[in-house]
Symmetry: C2
Subunit: 338 residues, 2 copies
DNA sequence: TTGAAAGCGCTACCAA
DNA sequence: TTGGTAGCGCTTTCAA
């Protein structure tokens, strides 16, 4: 209906006209190019401020520069760890003058349309943390020269990665439980096929096997609390002789779900059964849980992830790189102490 | 070092050359313009697919169209409600072919640089849910003709808003507690000055006053679990006669924090004290809490928020609009039943 | 139905 | 130190 008289935004050209100089001069002055005289620069700065000028990043990008955009591909935030990761990423990216194009953030595999958005918006690089078939998105990016870093995930075919030393974490937790005298451990696994889940479980199991004990029983978990809860119910339903004396949820949220189910079934934690997790999410520290866990060094992981990305955005052709950071064992009351 | 021979991305011009047609023809063909002959269109489609062509949205935007970008300004995700909101927004926006520029997502007020990013990236519109002084960002957007919709927040000076009927929700919770015989209620408040917090508390208090009872005691809360926990400790430390028999945390996460502290102090919930919250976050339903709450209709809120935004992006000069949706009372075991 | 040309806002290059 | 010009990739007149 109405032809919406939107406020006309000032441009380099409009400022140039008002200042009686060339557009190129304005462009340089606004970016504090040293070869523009102080007077001119000051005048243009004033004019720009008056006019409420905002550079059009899109145009700037078009002419060949960076977009300043990083694609952040998130999976389901059913696991609060990813929300914490997101917050870290936003703030650290901002410190580098980068903004985030947020994609997916839901369960299931990444749609092609989502992956293409990364290209359409000319992101400078891309952080992928989604559990699904992220490899496809990674491949698309790789094919188009967009650097990719996986966070909390291993890179199967393309891209670099930053993650916690999941194997070592699993071992550390197993070690702790062994020392406390546990002999019948169980694992609540994550989504099938995710590297994080399998590695953690692997490290955990390995340590028990090395101690000459049978392999831990496995219970199918999943992404969120509900999956852990279901696994906990299954465990509690076991006849007494088969009942594990310790449960490792491969993520904190799974462990918390399992713990809720175990307690609801009348088992005492850690009296009857110890429960441990991994990630170090905030909720795990809260009173009803006090979850023993291996905390991922979130801040450092994001920092290294951005480092890897920025180095590759720089234009240098660097080989793919995998960074493993060690997590920190946090002992809390959910597990019996040695 | 290396001059990084990045894969050269196909462009409209390059496709035109290969197809032996004009760029304008390619442009039209790719967007299924009906006046391009089927043969030509098919040929160009094939060529584009072969070349792995991806349109450059930035260029498209520059020429005058929409950017397809929505700014999402989030506050601290210490409250999981915002993570859930984010997930909803990403998925609903994607269904409209829109992508999100994620900003802030941290505590504290929005920096000017953050607000300016909205303009620099030429977002078509903007959703603000941050608790801080979001009015400044809203003002900046309004000044530049960028439609703004506040979600879970009232718009003070500029912009439209979608939120839950907080007043009614507070009343409904008070009503429930009154019916169950509670007479000494307390409120754990949110961040001072946030409309959400004050409205909820106001509705809650009003109902008790209307029943001829003294105003609920107020305890300073904040954003996250820790704030609720501290308030719960303060409440538990009160001498018995002053001790409230019901606690309303103005957000679920506050209520959960308070509940944790109360129980830790030896009080039974709901035996000694009922606890209720508001938001309807996933964790509130879990076993240790089973929190009675008023759930916000998250999906509908986001849907209406995008509706408002899209209508205004359409170009129509519509007046600011405020949409209030009613929440749903969910009775769980954290509060005594009437 | 297709083509040629202009221009979105910006920066880079070459002159002056 | 400044100006002019060209061009990034795309769409959109206006012609043919």
């Amino acid at each position: 209906m109405d032809d919406a008289p939107l406020p006309i935004r000032a441009t380099v050209a409009s400022l140039a006209r008002r200042a009686g100089v060339a557009a190129s001069t304005v462009s340089r002055a606004l970016r504090d190019d040293p070869r523009i005289s102080p007077q001119v620069r000051a005048r243009i700065a004033t004019l720009a401020a008056e006019a409420g000028y905002t550079p059009n990043v899109l145009a700037r990008t078009l002419v060949g520069g960076r977009s300043g955009l990083i694609g952040l591909v998130l999976g389901s935030i059913e696991n609060p760890f990813y929300a914490e990761l997101m917050q870290q990423t936003v703030s650290q990216a901002a410190a580098h003058g980068l903004r985030l194009l947020l994609l997916h953030a839901g369960p299931g595999p990444i749609e092609d349309a989502t992956a293409e958005a990364l290209l359409q918006y000319r992101v400078d690089g891309c952080l992928i943390t989604s559990a699904g078939l992220s490899s496809r998105a990674a491949a698309i990016c790789a094919d188009n020269g967009v650097p990719v870093v996986m966070v909390n995930r291993v890179a199967r075919l393309h891209g670099s990665a930053v993650s916690c030393n999941n194997l070592a974490a699993g071992e550390a937790l197993a070690e702790l439980l062994l020392a406390a005298g546990h002999r019948r451990p169980a694992i609540v696994s994550g989504n099938a096929g995710t590297s994080t889940s399998t590695e953690r479980a692997e490290g955990f199991a390995r340590r028990f096997l090395a101690a000459g004990l049978p392999a831990p029983a496995r219970f199918e978990g999943g992404t969120g609390h509900a999956a852990g809860y279901a696994a906990g119910q299954a465990i509690a339903a076991l006849p007494a002789p088969q009942q594990p004396d310790a449960v490792f949820g491969v993520s904190d949220i799974l462990a918390m779900g399992a713990m809720d189910a175990l307690r609801e079934a009348g088992l005492r934690v850690p009296g009857d059964v110890s429960v441990v997790g991994m990630d170090g999410i905030a909720a795990g520290a809260h009173a009803p849980y006090r979850l023993t866990t291996v905390a991922q060094p979130l801040e450092a992981m994001v920092a290294r992830g951005l480092d890897l990305l920025l180095a590759r955005i720089g234009g240098a052709r660097l080989p793919d790189e995998v960074v493993l950071l060690r997590g920190a064992l946090i002992r809390r009351a959910s597990a019996r102490l040695p």
